[in-house]
Each structure stands twice: as structure tokens, then as C-alpha cells.
């Protein structure tokens, strides 16, 4: 096989799929976003320029969705990281040998569950009258608490599930990364009289954090497209308390209004926002690392 054949064999299907499932839809989304296609009407669509984008920033529901997406992103990314960096040292210090393997295995389990399945499970657990969480709370004389049906609790309650799935996975990975820190470094620090706290904050975390950055970015992408998850748990409710950008775009485009053009504009905005956000953070973190 020549190099050229090899190239074609592997690149043509890859780029073919990318074109078909990424670039082509992206192109049509750009096209639709500049028009006013409304599925409820059989009138031909006309060019409206940036009209959809202007409308977006005057639409309180869009601004709410932007806020909810931001809150969900911050809650789940920071929550997962906090959990990982708090629990990993405990495991690293106390569990050795098979106990550590068992801990890692258990930490990975929630992430292995399909997200839809996990969402249904938690929806039942959160249920005000049938759920196990309120049952357990009632044993110690608390509750019943309303989780998903309370506008103030709904988003944090969903974030908890996401952190449960991703935070423990990150914990397992950080435990493995902590193992990679050379023993000599740790012993030297201990000989110099470093406390456990400063050992971690000054030596272990700075060594491990850059290695875990790709995980943080993957988690961010995951948090930005949590449509399936939220759809099962609240479908954006109560009201619009958990309506993220992708959820709102769905309701506008497919769910009830049929405003494909407006939904396309919102989706494009989301793509651009994600790219800007990731690039900005990536650069900032690299500068900090150097």
C-alpha cells in the first residue's frame, strides 16, 4: 500500500463523516439562522440578516437560558473538581493495594451508567412522596423536601447528579495521577517538615493539576450539552428554572414553536461561545502553568 492509498483509506471515511455529520449541518444552520424559516407556516422563507441574533438578546427567556447554562457549567465543573481533589488525597493516604483498586472501581461505576438511566433513577429517588431520599430523611425526622419541583432547588439537585457521575470519575483519575508523583519528592518534603496540607497544596496538586486539565475540558463540554439529562429530570422546569441553552433551542425549533431559524441562531451562538470559552481558559491556564 502506498502512502497515498493509506492516506485515502483512513482519511476519506473520517472526513466524509465529519463533512456529512458536522460541516454540512453547521453550514445549513448558518444558512437557516440568517433566514426566517417557521415550520408552522408554508410561506417561503426570506433573508433576515442578523435579525434572529438581535431578537435573541432581547428575549428574556434566552438570557435566562444563558444564565442557567452558565450556572450549571460552573456548578458541575467546580463541584466535580472539588470532590475529586478532596476525596482523592483521602484514598491516596489511607487505601493501599486491593483497597485502592476497589475504591477506584467503585468511583468509576456511576460514570458507566447510561445518563438517561441514571437520570430516571435519580428522578425516582428525588420524588417527594415515593423517593428513598425523603424516606431516609423522614427516619431522622426531616422533610419531606422538594428537590426537582422547587424552582430554587431544581438546578442544584440536577448538578448533584452530574457531580455524582463525573466527580467520582475524576476522583479515580486523580488518585491514579497522585500515584505518579515521584516518591522522592514526597519524602524530601516530609523530611523538610511539610504538613499534610502544605504537601498537597504546594507539591502534589500543582504537579497533578496540569495533567488533569484535559479532563476539565472534557467535563466542560459534557456540562454544556446535558440536554438528555435535564430533559428526563425536569424538561427545563419548573417554569424555566433549569432551561439551558440547548433545551430552549429545542423548544423553539422542534418542541412547540417550530421556529427553526431562531433555534439555529441560538445553536450557532452556543458553538461560538463554547469555542471562545475553551480557547480563553486554555490560554489562561497555560500562562498560569508556565
Amino acid at each position: 500500500m502506498t502512502k497515498r492509498q493509506f492516506f485515502l483509506l483512513f482519511m476519506v471515511p473520517t472526513f466524509g463523516c465529519l463533512f456529512l455529520f458536522a460541516f454540512y449541518p453547521l453550514g445549513t444552520a448558518i444558512y437557516y439562522s440568517l433566514h426566517d424559516w417557521d415550520m408552522r407556516s408554508s410561506a417561503p422563507m426570506s433573508f433576515v440578516g442578523l435579525g434572529n441574533f438581535v431578537e435573541m438578546f432581547q428575549d428574556p427567556r434566552f438570557l435566562n437560558a444563558l444564565k442557567v447554562s452558565g450556572q450549571f457549567l460552573a456548578l458541575t465543573v467546580l463541584g466535580s473538581l472539588a470532590l475529586a481533589f478532596l476525596v482523592a488525597p483521602l484514598v491516596h493516604e489511607t487505601a493501599k493495594g486491593w483497597r485502592r483498586h476497589l475504591a477506584i472501581f467503585v468511583f468509576i461505576l456511576p460514570a458507566v451508567l447510561p445518563r438517561i438511566g441514571a437520570a430516571y433513577m435519580w428522578r425516582l429517588m428525588y420524588d417527594p412522596s415515593l423517593g428513598i431520599i425523603n424516606y431516609l430523611l423522614s427516619l431522622v425526622g426531616l422533610g419531606p423536601y422538594i428537590f426537582l419541583q422547587n424552582p430554587r432547588n431544581a438546578l442544584p439537585s440536577i448538578a448533584v447528579i452530574d457531580i455524582w457521575q463525573w466527580g467520582f470519575l475524576l476522583t479515580a483519575l486523580v488518585v491514579i495521577l497522585l500515584d505518579e508523583v515521584p516518591k522522592e519528592v514526597i519524602e524530601a518534603a516530609r523530611l523538610d517538615g511539610a504538613s499534610a496540607l502544605s504537601l498537597y497544596t504546594r507539591i502534589m496538586y500543582p504537579l497533578v493539576l496540569p495533567l488533569s486539565l484535559p479532563l476539565v475540558f472534557i467535563k466542560m463540554m459534557e456540562s454544556l450539552r446535558s440536554f438528555d439529562f435535564i430533559f428526563v429530570l425536569t424538561a427545563g422546569g419548573p417554569g424555566i428554572a433549569t432551561e439551558t441553552l440547548d433545551m430552549y433551542a429545542y423548544w423553539q425549533g422542534m418542541g412547540s414553536s417550530g421556529r427553526i431559524s431562531y433555534a439555529s441562531a441560538m445553536s450557532l451562538f452556543m458553538v461560538v461561545m463554547s469555542i471562545v470559552l475553551v480557547t480563553f481558559l486554555w490560554k489562561a491556564l497555560r500562562r498560569w502553568h508556565e
Binding site: 408554508s42 419541583q149 422547587n150 424552582p151 425536569t234 422546569g237 417554569g239 412547540s256
Partner: protein
């Protein structure tokens, strides 16, 4: 030799293709469709037609059929339509009028006229109805007797009974729909709006559901929500809670009550009473809804395909099919007057229930607005109602007037007023 064989194969498949007429039907997964699927091979054989069914849940079914028709794709020959989206389809000319295609042998005049009227837009009928639903009150006889309570006939009495039977978390007074959506909480709320003297639109089509009457109706509905297991129940959540014996009294659609009559899915089979929904200050009203099948005006059909699609609609909504549904335990989802008056129907359901249901047919009214923008406006109002319900349930402050004013402003924008 090879060439001859190839030609023979092409000729054979060509003629086979020409002989089999295939029709594509978009449907919604419902128990009576599962039942009727058993008989579809019979239809296919009798008419020489192959039927392809595609099932999508209610909201997805609406958006998929809209996409199929508006984009001109025309994948489906037969659409599943309902009273909430017939206006959109009629206004855009996506359906063939019912009387232009419904086969004579299946008797279009047998349908309840009210239901055909419901699947019409601007006086033209588009859908062949195969089911209707309306409201009935279902209550726990044992609980009412235990506490010496009478069966309520007014909304005030109803609320008193709800409160008297409320003992959470063991037992809830009622269970009512709070989940947002034009076909969800707004649908359930709509008869209350009318019974308190309010309406969605005035005679000129201006939205007026922020009137003092509407505010009172929402106040009342919030009381019901507060005595429910959750403020965002769907229809099936509410029914499951009642079937599980955790709820005292409910008013909801009679449709699919077959689940409550089934001892496998209900622990309250022998303890249920049925009555008409309670009356409000402005009268006693039950919702009226119909689902039906329509013939696509968008799909590119040959005359044979069009005939096959029309025959399928006729066969599916025929008297024979309706009686089969009664015998198969799905008798409540029918649309022909003769079916509800039949001996088979009388044999299949308790006399008390049949009486309540016949009474229901007398007080049924269309409670939503049949305009193309209804789904969008209803969905927005549904969000506002859900916000009120969940805030009230969590003892947080809420402002009914402000929420309704906001929804009315949205409706005005959607209507271009």
C-alpha cells in the same frame, strides 16, 4: 445466460413493486393502537396494501408531522392529528378535506358530529375521529363513606373534600396535572377557567386570560396543586398515584381509564365511584378533545396509494374496529355514537360509569382555542402556570396577575397584535 437471468429478476421485482401498494402512517403509541395492530394484517390482505406504522409520542408526533408537511418532504400519507393541531394543518392546506376522501362503505355519518366538528378548521372537516376524551370525577367511595362526606357537586364542595382527605405523605387529597405544556397543565386548567367565567380569547380574538375571573380560576387550581403529591405531575403520574391508592379524589380525562378498571394496574378497582365533574360559578363544563386520522395533501401519492390510504383511515375508524376495541378492553377510545349505545359497551363497563359518561357527553365543550398559534401560546402560559404552582407548593411568594399579564403580552406578540 447471466444476462437473461438478470433481466428476469429485474422484470420480476419490477412487477412485484408495481403490485404492492405501501402507505406510511404516522401514529402515536397508545394502547388501542397496540390492540388494533393485531388486525392490520387482515386489512393488508383484504386491500392488498402494506401498512408502515411510525409511532412518536404526542409532542414529537406533532413536531414531526409539522416538519414533514411544512418542508414538503411528505414521507407520511396518513397523519395522526388532534383538536390542538388541526388548525395549523387546515390553515396551511396540508390535509385533504374528510368528505373528499372518506370511503362510503365505512359511513362517515356514523361519527359523533361534535367530534367531526372538533377536527375541522373554518368549517371544513379534516380528520376522521377515532377517540374522544372528556372529564369525569373519580373518587374513593370507601374514604368518603369513612368520613361521612357527600359526593361533591360544586367546586367549593370539591375543595372541601380534597382538604378533608388530605393526610400526606400517606394520602393526598387530590392529584392534578401541573406539568407545563399547552396539552398538559393548560389543558387541565382550561375547564376551570371557563367554570369561573373566564376565557382565553374574547370575540375579537384578543387574549384575555389575565381577567379577574382567570386569576380566581388560577387561585382555585393552586389550592388543588397544594393538595397533590407533586406540583408538576403529568397525566400518567396523577393516574398512577390514584391507581396506587394514595389519592382521595380526582377529576381528569375518562380516556384510558381502562387502566383504572384493570386489577393488574390498579388497587382501587372495587373502591371507585364516578360522577360528573363539579360545577363552578359559571357552570359545569367538561373538556372536549378528539384525535383522528387525516389524509396528507403534501405526500406525492399515486391514485392507488391515495385510495389505499383513504381505505386505511376508513377501516381504522370503522364501526367494526370500534366494537373490537370495546371487546379488547379499550372501549373508551371511540368516536361513533352507536358504539357508546351498543350492548357490547353496556356489558363491558359498570352501569354507574356508563351513566356518568353519557352525562359527560352533555356538558362537553371545547375549552381551548383552535388557532394555529395555540401550541406556542399554550406552552408559554404552561410555563407561567408551572412557575406559580411550584412556587406555591414550596411556600415561596408568587404573583398570579403578573404571570398572566406576562403570558397575555406574549400571546399578543405571537398573534402579531
Amino acid at each position: 445466460m447471466r444476462k437473461v437471468l438478470l433481466a428476469a429478476i429485474v422484470a420480476l421485482t419490477g412487477s412485484a413493486l408495481a403490485q404492492t401498494v405501501t402507505i406510511d402512517v404516522l401514529a402515536q403509541p397508545r394502547e388501542e393502537w397496540t390492540l388494533m395492530e393485531r388486525y392490520i394484517p387482515e386489512f393488508e390482505e383484504a386491500y392488498g396494501v402494506k401498512v408502515n406504522l411510525t409511532y412518536l409520542a404526542e409532542n414529537e408526533r406533532r413536531s414531526r408531522s409539522r416538519l414533514d408537511a411544512s418542508s414538503g418532504a411528505g414521507q407520511f400519507d396518513v397523519y395522526y392529528i388532534d383538536d390542538a393541531n388541526v388548525a395549523e394543518f387546515g390553515a396551511n392546506g396540508w390535509l385533504v378535506p374528510l368528505h373528499e376522501f372518506y370511503p362510503e362503505e365505512f359511513e362517515v355519518e356514523g361519527f359523533s358530529p361534535a367530534l367531526v366538528g372538533l377536527l375541522s378548521y373554518e368549517g371544513v372537516a379534516y380528520g376522521a375521529p377515532f377517540m374522544t376524551e372528556g372529564d369525569l370525577m373519580f373518587y374513593r367511595k370507601d374514604l368518603l363513606e369513612e368520613r361521612g362526606l357527600d359526593v361533591p357537586t360544586t367546586l367549593d364542595e370539591y375543595l372541601e373534600v380534597v382538604k378533608a382527605l388530605h393526610d400526606p405523605p400517606r394520602q393526598y387529597g387530590t392529584a392534578t396535572r401541573g406539568l407545563r405544556g399547552s396539552g398538559m397543565n393548560v389543558w387541565r386548567f382550561s375547564p376551570y377557567l371557563k367554570m369561573f367565567g373566564g376565557s382565553f380569547f374574547d370575540e375579537d380574538g384578543a387574549p384575555v386570560f389575565n381577567s379577574p375571573e382567570a386569576v380566581r380560576a388560577v387561585e382555585y387550581y393552586i389550592e388543588l396543586i397544594k393538595h397533590s403529591p407533586s406540583p408538576t405531575m403529568s397525566w400518567s403520574d396523577a393516574m398512577d398515584a390514584f391507581a396506587a391508592g394514595r389519592v382521595g379524589i380526582v377529576t381528569f380525562a375518562n380516556l384510558k381509564m381502562d387502566t383504572l378498571f384493570n386489577p393488574d394496574s390498579s388497587v382501587v378497582v372495587d373502591r371507585m365511584g364516578y360522577a360528573l365533574p363539579p360545577a363552578g360559578p359559571a357552570g359545569q363544563i367538561s373538556t372536549l378533545s378528539a384525535h383522528g386520522l387525516g389524509l396528507s395533501a403534501v405526500a406525492d401519492m399515486t391514485p392507488e396509494e391515495r385510495e389505499a390510504a383513504a381505505n386505511f383511515i376508513g377501516w381504522f375508524t370503522s364501526q367494526t374496529s370500534e366494537l373490537r376495541k370495546v371487546e379488547g378492553g379499550q372501549g373508551l377510545t371511540n368516536a361513533r355514537t352507536a358504539t357508546f349505545e351498543s350492548q357490547a359497551f353496556a356489558d363491558a363497563y359498570p352501569a354507574e360509569y356508563g351513566e356518568a359518561m353519557r352525562g359527560m357527553l352533555q356538558i362537553q365543550e371545547l375549552t381551548i382555542a383552535q388557532i394555529p398559534q395555540w401550541n406556542e401560546i399554550g406552552d408559554y402560559l404552561g410555563i407561567k402556570l408551572e412557575e406559580l404552582f411550584t412556587a406555591a407548593y414550596a411556600n415561596q411568594p408568587y404573583d398570579i396577575q403578573a404571570a398572566l399579564d406576562d403570558a397575555v403580552a406574549f400571546a399578543n406578540r405571537a398573534l402579531g397584535r
